[in-house]
């Protein structure tokens, strides 16, 4: 779906995240620290502008803008920064904003670097299901939470590396403690898995009545991601997966989840283009 205005606003929002990230890097190199409030302002500014861009896109497609890979990745970035803006000050973990901005920038570059991700898909028809929209937005929102989980896990891994290898200079000096990172990781894991579970429950109500409209690859991919996080949560709560292994698993799972968006998004786009418009009620 190409629209100059929405893309422009989304792009500006992403650019502000990038500026915030670059500013923080420069601060860290020169002053060995970065003012957290400044980065927070950059992220908040970028978020506001990106929200407007996604709103324009949503108005254009007539629903939640999660219809192609580009939109899904942008929505993940939006969810990630939203979670940071809401939860970041509460966690008060140093470098949390820095790494959140870094992940947002990385995903942003990825989404703009592959133009085919923003492939056209048919406009939604007016009888769109509110429940499936809710399901879709919750599902993608959970990916944003899992993005934040990857950030907290990365902070854990870096601190673990620093403590094991005795690296305490530069950026390592500002890392949160291991126990704080792990505690945050558990809370985010619970939140992300909870949101995805609710999303799938809402989706299943629709799927159970419209089985023919279920997109196979997307369905199995969503179930696989949900199961994976559920198993990780179960293992963590029973103390069978923790510390470094938990952090590595969370980062790896997020990468797999993000990478799975692409083929799944492609499969759906091609299905939708080849199918009659009446079969494309299910946007997610």
């Amino acid at each position: 779906m190409s629209s100059n205005t929405d893309i422009l606003w989304i792009g500006i929002g992403n650019l502000i995240y990038t500026l915030g990230f670059v500013t923080a890097i420069l601060y860290l190199i020169r002053a060995k620290h970065h003012p957290r409030w400044l980065l927070y302002m950059f992220i908040a500014g970028g978020y506001a502008i990106q929200t407007y861009g996604l709103y324009l896109r949503g108005m254009e497609v007539g629903g939640c803008p999660v219809g192609n890979t580009f939109e899904i990745v942008q929505f993940v970035i939006w969810s990630l920064t939203f979670c940071f803006l809401v939860l970041g000050p509460a966690f008060r973990m140093s470098l949390f904003g820095f790494f959140t901005a870094g992940l947002a920038v990385l995903l942003s570059i990825l989404s703009f670097a592959i133009p085919t991700w923003d492939s056209p898909y048919p406009d939604r028809i007016s009888e769109i299901s509110a429940s499936i929209e809710f399901h879709a937005s919750l599902a993608v929102f959970s990916y944003g939470i899992f993005g934040m989980l990857a950030v907290s896990s990365t902070l854990y891994l870096l601190q673990n590396f620093a403590l094991k290898r005795h690296q305490f200079k530069g950026v390592y000096a500002f890392l949160p403690s291991l126990v704080e990172s792990e505690s945050m990781t558990l809370r985010i894991l619970v939140a992300g898995t909870g949101v995805l579970t609710v999303s799938l429950l809402v989706g299943s109500l629709y799927w159970s009545q419209n089985l023919a409209e279920v997109n196979g690859p997307k369905f199995f991919s969503s179930i696989a991601v949900w199961l994976a996080y559920l198993i990780v949560l179960g293992l963590r709560l029973t103390n069978r997966l923790f510390a470094r292994k938990l952090a590595v698993t969370c980062v790896a799972l997020f990468l797999i989840a993000i990478l799975s968006i692409w083929p799944v998004g492609n499969s759906r786009s091609s299905n939708e283009i080849n199918e009659p418009i009446s079969d494309k009620v299910l946007p997610e």
Binding site: L163, K164, H166, F168
Partner: protein
């Protein structure tokens, strides 16, 4: 009879030239220290003698009319049961002004691994008192040591060399904070009841540690420490049980072998909670088997590690070094000028004849 000038000399093996492994081998036990005193003082050419032995250095300060460093090294090597050639290669010798500057620097903590640390001053004072008890101190060493203490006091009061929280125990506790965040929910187990243990207990308590357990081979010493500083003393036999509950374990015993071996860890790690374990080995010889470093969720730091970490934090202090050295050189110059050209003060042992 021509009066010959007496030399003030310093023979030193320190962290500058020897690794922690080697320093472990030359760290004298109390009986070996006594033997060093008696053996060296039996040497006719040595008039005065002080041995400073810390985790990071073995130093012999002396006053004599002639210096036989190879002979001195051979005696020390024989007592410590190490190769004399290797010991000699790792040793460094300084005389007169340079020896005094070195002594003042050591006492003020300028030569320490953790620059500006204060523990060394107390250790030098103890070494000096011990030598006085051995009656091996004469006017030359007495003046040198007393002046070094005065100079240290001036340096501490007038420069930033001692500013900030930088000493072994503080660095160690700060590392625990990097693992656990605040220590308000952490349990600490201190094994050993010496000076370092005492200082660490104070630091841990100042950081609000939730539970403090003290363990020592001699239970009474742990009990005394608990009575003075708080915490709970437990018998050494129940160590494994308390290791299970501990988040931070600090070892500072005089045990010649590892107290916490890899096999011991393997036996209790599975029973432990998933919380990380921070091990701080402040003993020399080391108390904790370094082989456990690879175990997940375990973070081990020994004296060398702590010193390395502290060093990186101490660049600001190092900027003060120039000012401190300048003051030391001034004081050393005053001392040597006052002692006159011959430096022939009364010796500790009046029977010792001056060579002709």
């Amino acid at each position: 009879m021509t009066q010959q000038k007496r030399i003030l000399f310093c023979w030193t093996v320190s962290h500058h030239s020897a690794s922690i492994d080697y320093r472990e081998t030359i760290s004298p036990a109390p009986d070996q220290l006594d033997l060093i005193y008696t053996s060296l003082y039996d040497e006719d050419w040595i008039n005065e003698l002080t041995v400073v032995s810390t985790c990071n250095r073995l130093e012999i300060y002396g006053a004599s009319y002639e210096a036989h460093y190879q002979k001195l090294t051979a005696i020390v090597a024989k007592i410590l049961k190490v190769n004399p050639v290797e010991l000699f290669e790792k040793s460094k010798t300084l005389e007169d002004k340079q020896a005094l500057i070195h002594l003042f620097s050591v006492t003020a903590g300028l030569d320490s691994q953790i620059v500006g640390e204060t523990e060394i001053t107390g250790q030098v004072k103890q070494a000096f008192l011990y030598a006085a008890k051995q009656r091996s101190i004469g006017t030359r060493l007495n003046k040198a040591f007393q002046k070094s203490f005065q100079t240290t006091k001036w340096i501490r009061s007038n420069t930033n060399i001692g500013k900030g929280q930088i000493n072994v125990t503080t660095v160690a506790v700060d590392l625990a904070i990097k693992v656990f965040g605040r220590l308000h929910n952490s349990a600490a187990l201190v094994i050993g009841a010496g000076d370092i243990a005492e200082k660490t207990i104070t630091t841990l308590q100042s950081r609000g540690v939730k539970k403090l357990t003290l363990c020592n081979r001699t239970f009474e010493k742990a009990q005394d420490l608990a009575n003075t500083h708080g915490g709970r003393a437990v018998p050494f036999e129940s160590l494994d049980c308390h290791l299970l509950e501990a988040d931070v374990v600090l070892c500072s015993t005089a045990s010649p072998e590892f107290i916490l071996t890899e096999s011991r860890f393997n036996s209790f790690l599975r029973k432990r909670s998933i919380r990380p374990l921070c091990l701080l080995d402040l003993a020399l010889p080391r108390d904790i088997d370094p082989g456990i470093t690879h175990l997940p969720n375990i973070f081990l730091y020994n004296l060398d590690d702590l010193a390395e970490i502290a060093d990186s934090n101490l660049n600001a202090r190092k900027e003060e070094l120039g000012k401190c050295i300048e003051h030391i050189e001034k004081k050393v110059a005053q001392l040597t000028d006052n002692q006159g050209p011959s430096g022939t003060n009364r010796t500790a042992n009046p029977d010792r004849a001056q060579p002709t």
